[in-house]
């Protein structure tokens, strides 16, 4: 169990660094979403399923969707289509 937790914690750190270093905003949001998902698994391992449900619904679900809508509003996603 501890090995699994360590792998997840390392993944968390990698995600946090990658999210801040990524140049593409869409990639940043997806990395952020995976961060939340891993975090919710860690909450379950820490025996707090209440927080795990909330983290999965709010962090991985609603926040990501709001970020994506904002990106679409500022036309950050449609950039690649225009290049073609």
């Amino acid at each position: 169990m501890t090995v699994f937790t360590c792998i997840l914690l390392g993944f968390l750190i990698i995600c946090a660094v990658a999210a801040s270093l990524s140049r593409n905003l869409l990639n940043t949001i997806l990395i952020f979403m995976s961060y939340s998902l891993v975090m919710s698994v860690i909450w379950i391992l820490l025996e707090s399923p209440d927080l795990a449900i909330t983290e999965a619904a709010v962090g991985a679900g609603v926040t990501t969707v709001l970020f994506l809508v904002t990106l679409k509003k500022i036309h950050a996603i449609m950039k690649e289509d225009q290049d073609e």
């Binding site: 707090s48 399923p49 209440d50 449900i53 619904a57 679900g61 609603v62 904002t70 679409k72």
Partner: protein
């Protein structure tokens, strides 16, 4: 309608004016304050030329990085000071952490009688099998009330910032941002058809079983809100507005917050005055148990679900 006072006399009274003012039919500034219609800002050619000259001069003198010594010095100093500030902050926080009591020490401030009491007497005093819910919605219900109001205020702020007033114009790009997307996506609709009912039922289960197992109002409400967003994405605004509009949100969240406040003020009043509460705690483990916690969970769930959905609609469209 029979009135003791005729209409003309009634219109002169203070109560009539108060009524009109409350209903908003009378503008208090009309005919008392001089009002000018707003003019659209127009600039003539001279100011445009002057502005462009200004901009050109700025670009040549200020932003010319090779010849502007001030900016070069400022950038170097800025870099040095930012690093120094970060180091200072890290040192300060590390020093603060090193002064904290060690983990597992017996005289830590965490090891006081409060947590002991929550664990030992929580089930008898709140009737909730899930101690966390018992703490959040019974011992510390005042905090949760504040949290719900924070959510409500956040929604109000989003409404103020993102809401588009004015006539509905279907041709505008913002109002109908699905114009350039495939409508009626078959994959999305099929998935939504299968997934949305279980998501709703799971959310309702989390809310209703909040005092029996993991879950509670906030997480259940967030799950229901996510389900609503999925449904909206699959089937569009026309279908969701049949059952969820701005009016629905206003009324449900107002009722939920008012119900929460009333229930909790009753329990605070009886608790602070050592009066016996008439609400039975019930048998622990039953769905209808633990007093007010079930009602409070439902209220929080309604507020959170509406808030999540409203956030999304405001970001997408700016109006209901």
């Amino acid at each position: 309608m029979s009135r003791k006072v005729p209409q003309e006399e009634y219109e002169k009274t203070v109560s009539y004016r108060l009524k009109r003012w409350l209903e908003g039919t009378k503008d208090p500034f009309l005919n008392t304050v001089e009002m000018r219609p707003q003019k659209e800002f127009e600039e003539d050619e001279q100011t445009v030329r002057a502005r462009e000259k200004d901009r050109k001069r700025n670009a040549e003198k200020v932003y010319d990085l090779e010849r502007n010594a001030e900016i070069r010095i400022f950038r170097k100093v800025y870099r040095v000071f930012s690093v120094l500030f970060c180091v200072f902050l890290v040192m300060m926080l590390l020093t603060a952490v090193s002064w904290l009591p060690a983990v597992g020490e017996a005289d830590r401030p965490v090891n006081n009688e409060v947590s002991k009491r929550y664990i030992e007497n929580g089930l008898q005093e709140t009737g909730a099998v899930n101690i966390v819910t018992g703490m959040i919605l019974d011992y510390r219900a005042f905090d949760t009330l504040g949290e719900s109001h924070v959510l409500f205020v956040a929604t109000c702020t989003v409404l103020i910032l993102l809401r588009l007033d004015g006539k509905k114009d279907p041709e505008r790009f913002d109002a109908n941002d699905r114009l350039h997307e495939p409508k009626n996506d078959v994959i999305l609709q099929t998935v939504a058809k299968i997934l949305v009912p279980p998501i709703f039922i799971f959310g309702i289960y989390i809310i209703l079983a909040g005092h029996l197992g993991p879950g509670g109002g906030f997480s259940g409400g967030a799950v229901i809100g996510a389900g609503l967003i999925l449904y909206l994405n699959a089937f569009g605004f026309a279908k969701t507005e049949r059952f969820f509009t701005a009016k629905t949100y206003r009324r449900t969240s107002f009722c939920a917050l008012a119900c929460y406040s009333l229930c909790k003020s009753y329990s605070f009043f009886t608790g602070a005055n050592h009066i016996e509460s008439v609400i039975p705690l019930g048998k622990p483990g039953a769905i209808l148990s633990s007093g007010l916690i079930l009602i409070l969970n439902i209220c929080v769930g309604i507020v959170v679900a509406g808030t999540m959905y409203t956030f999304y609609v405001m970001f997408r469209k700016g109006e209901y």
